[in-house]
């Protein structure tokens, strides 16, 4: 409805202050990135041609399209001329979905619509693409609307979550609001199944600073992690032989280690009681 693939029966949608029906459909859509669950890549076009569709519609010159394509492909770990000329039929599911992201992002649309973009992928690929996606520098100034059935994914990626049931909005709010102040029984019930997991995703390292012993760096530091990172992210980055330097913007705060996992868990558990 936002990019008018479906027209609303009732109501209006404003994008950056403008009614979305005030622009012709095709023009509107060229400014909105779109990622589909089953990629929707054109099988008769090469990777490069698939990616170049929107920029061509927008009239970019060839060199600009090429440079932008290469930098995005590189970010998603898909380098090389070979990939550039490949046809989608010869790619793996993960590669195709990465290309799907590149195609949606190529023209730097301010808005990105994603329809279960990670849904059809195996867990390993899903995690890795999600990471590449989250680490895109330009993501900060985009409005991203993602549909998902995976509540953890929603909590992990979303700033605002709209929980829907039977076509009706049950609650709109930040992950923390949803967990702490569920607006009705449905929301409460829905989230209760995965309560602990969700805590991992709404609490950040910062929440535990005051009760946490942070060691000074004692030699080799292998990874860096932001103080705003969630517990889940910290866990994902832990490994037995890896120390993580905790940073607040650029300032050093201390270290977390694999051996801290138990402390973090017990702190989290005591908070819940």
């Amino acid at each position: 409805m936002i990019n008018r693939l479906v027209e609303p029966d009732l109501g209006e949608i404003y994008i950056q202050g403008r009614l979305n029906t005030s622009v012709p459909g095709p023009d509107l859509r060229r400014g909105i990135g779109y990622v589909l669950q089953d990629t929707g890549l054109f099988p008769h076009l090469s990777v490069a041609e698939n990616i170049a569709i929107v920029p061509r519609l927008l009239g970019w010159d060839k060199e600009r399209i090429r440079l932008r394509t290469f930098s995005l492909l590189e970010h998603f770990g898909l380098e090389g001329e070979r990939m550039y000329r490949e046809f989608p039929g010869n790619l793996s599911g993960g590669q195709k979905q990465r290309i799907g992201f590149v195609r949606a992002l190529i023209a730097s649309p301010p808005i990105l619509l994603m329809d279960e973009p990670f849904g059809a992928l195996d867990p390993v690929t899903r995690l890795s693409i999600r990471k590449d996606f989250k680490n895109l520098p330009e993501l900060q100034d985009k409005c991203i609307i993602m549909v998902t059935h995976d509540i953890q994914e929603a909590f992990q990626l979303g700033d605002r979550i709209i929980l829907m049931d039977n076509g009706k909005i049950q609650q709109i709010g930040s992950p923390i609001q949803l967990v702490k102040k569920p607006s009705n029984n449905f929301v409460k019930q829905f989230l209760s199944h995965q309560y602990l997991f969700l805590q991992f995703q709404i609490r950040s390292l910062e929440n535990f600073f005051d009760r946490f012993f942070l060691e000074a760096p004692d030699g080799i530091i292998i990874g860096k992690i932001s103080s705003l990172a969630t517990i889940q992210e910290a866990f994902e980055n832990f490994s037995p032989d890896q120390d993580l330097e905790v940073l607040e913007i650029r300032n050093h705060l201390g270290l977390v280690r694999f051996t801290h996992s138990r402390q973090l868990l017990s702190l989290l558990a005591s908070d819940l009681q």
Binding site: R29, L36, H44, I53
Partner: protein
Amino acid sequence: MNLSFFRDLWDFFIQNGKKIAEQSLVHTGLTFFSLFLSILVAIPLGIYLARHPKWANLIIGFTGVLQTIPSIALLGLMIPVLGIGIKPAIFSLFIYALLPILRNTYTGITGVDASVKEAALAMGMKPLQILWRVEIPLAMPVIMAGIRTATVINVGVATLAAYIGAGGLGEFIFGGISLNNPVMMVGGAAPTAGLAILLDFLLSRVQNFHFRGTASRVFLVGILFLLSSFYFIPKIGETKLFAGLTPEFFGRKDGYQGLQSVYHLKMSHVIISDAIMYAAMRDGDLDIVSGYSTDGRIQAYDLVNLWDDKQVFPPYQAALLVRKGVLQKYPELEGVLNLLAGKINDSLMTQMNYQVDFKKRNPDQVAKDFLLKNGLYREYKGIKKGKLVMGSKIFSEQYILSALYRYLINGYTSLELITKTGLGGTQVCFGALENGQIDFYPEYSGTGLLVILKPTEKISDSVSKSPEKLYAYIEGEFQKKYGLKWLKPLGFNNAYSLIMRRKQAEKEKIKSISDLSAYLLH
């Protein structure tokens, strides 16, 4: 088939190389021009139906019905509307190519993955851009498969174009069938098959080639146009009158070849099936046709036979050919069988043929009327003591003759006549007579000479000069060779004939073939 067949075939290709090449071009032109029209109609229609699927079953079903119309019937149906020659041929081929292209376009376009179409729409493509850049390219392999099917069908059906004077390789095939000449048949069929295989192969290459950009599409359309245009190579030396010749007449020495050498007759002509040439004549699409002098349609369409003043066409006097054994066994028989001798002239026979072919009267009834009118009809009261079997070929005139003889034998003698009508052609009847399955059948003197006796050219030329001479010759030869007797001629001569519309012939004062030849030269 033996080695000499292949040698003959080789000779045929050597001798007719130029003609085969020409007809192959005409054939290709016919195929592609109609294919081109079909593509122009079926692809947009297929796309439209993919957008409006509720009409799809109805329309595609309708083209399926068109497909089931037998080709000859469709060509025949077109004659009153489009005349003969190129137009009805192309129209029919167009009709036959519609279904495969339409169905495959529809299937191809509707088969494009929904998520791909959604992606195209979501990326801001306009409907026409989605069609050209996404749907058509993705449906192309299926559409091309349809075009290939249609091409192969058209190469095959285009052979039938020869029936309505549109030329093509079918001329050899149908000429070969009429002349009972297997070399000529294969000489036409082999290049046709080769053409189908070649075109299919070339299209398969086109299918695998990725077409990018406008230039290559324009190129493809250009090629299609070029192939279509083979048909329109201008035909030089058009004459004032336009003739339709049957493949048999065209191929025979005593047919068109004889007219060319004796009368120096030159006329623009097409090769056409005798089933439709009279109708084309009536409708004014043809001015002259080669037919048979007693054909009922001459009366029906107010046509006139031209006088063969230099006697190119050998006489084809009708007479009974009888086994001698029966005549000896039943002495009274010969007299009865000769009751009709000299009684039926050309115009009487034409009239009777007309009654059967056009008034749709029963041959029995027509025969009985004739006998009553001539006071020959009689009933026999006694008991039948024996049986005779009479054969006849498979056309109206022979059916009427067998009915006449049945009334005579049954009315005058103590014998009962059983008729075996519809015995195909000369070979079948003569074979049956030789091995005693039939006792007699009506035959024509010219056929007896050229089809059965097959003498040297010198002899046949000399004996064909007059009907009497010919009759005397075959009577003697049949007696000697086969022990068969020719009874007295019935009086009419069912020979080859050039036929014109009566009004036109009178207006231009054309009575004989010499008149015609002179008229065409000025």
